[in-house]
Symmetry: C2
Subunit: 132 residues, 2 copies
């Protein structure tokens, strides 16, 4: 893998319970400062995805390595790979994560952070992920 930014540490249990496998996070820009724009480098092992969730202020994903999936509620899953950009509107229910046979590394930018933190919802159906 070509890892540009540090992989960081495995997510703590309080958050990793919303993921189906191992995920590493290195915060690059923290939550409480004048930039109002927390940025994390997120690394998913193959086959690992997160639950459905929403960001009250929206989110931007910049994929730097590997291949995976992004899906909005009610739409088809979209394949994402290094160089892709995903802009997620506020309060849109979605999930993202790695393909079954590939790591996925993306920068996560939480926009308009004063609107609040992510709201975590139910897991993605294993049948639906299995079909991808």
């Amino acid at each position: 893998m070509n890892e540009i930014f540090p992989r960081g540490e495995k997510l703590p249990d309080i958050i990793s319970k919303y993921f189906t496998g191992n995920v590493w996070l290195q915060m690059l820009v923290g939550r409480e400062n004048e930039w109002n724009c927390p940025i994390g480098n997120v690394t998913f092992e193959p086959g690992c995805i997160n639950n459905w969730h929403r960001h009250p202020g929206g989110q931007i994903l910049l994929v730097t390595e590997g291949r995976g999936w992004y899906q909005e509620w009610g739409a088809e899953a979209r394949e994402i790979k290094a160089g892709d950009v995903v802009t997620i509107p506020s309060d849109v229910k979605h999930w993202h994560g790695a393909a079954k046979d590939s790591w996925l590394v993306h920068l996560s930018i939480e926009t308009n952070i004063s609107a609040g933190n992510a709201e975590w919802l139910e897991p993605v159906s294993e049948v639906d992920y299995g079909r991808l």
Copy 2:
């Protein structure tokens, strides 16, 4: 070079006049939308730097490739390379750009964009850059 995001087009003259050489820009997230967080992929050829300037809402640089310099007014220049993060407070006078012998590619995130666009100032002294 390992270019993850598209290199885009050379800057138009109206902006490239604030740079000492060739620079390419691909906007990844535009200026007027709900994310309030324009993101561009910026590529400097070796030896190319920008003028001193300020961002009223601050800026974050995420270096993805190559090597260059970042300097704040009144401080020493700091070498930057792939994997480095630079957080630039609002209204801090600064410049950035490539090393003499290396390309530099960074993501530029303009934070708190509602505060306004960059204010461009004088060129960096050639003598000062020459010493780096």
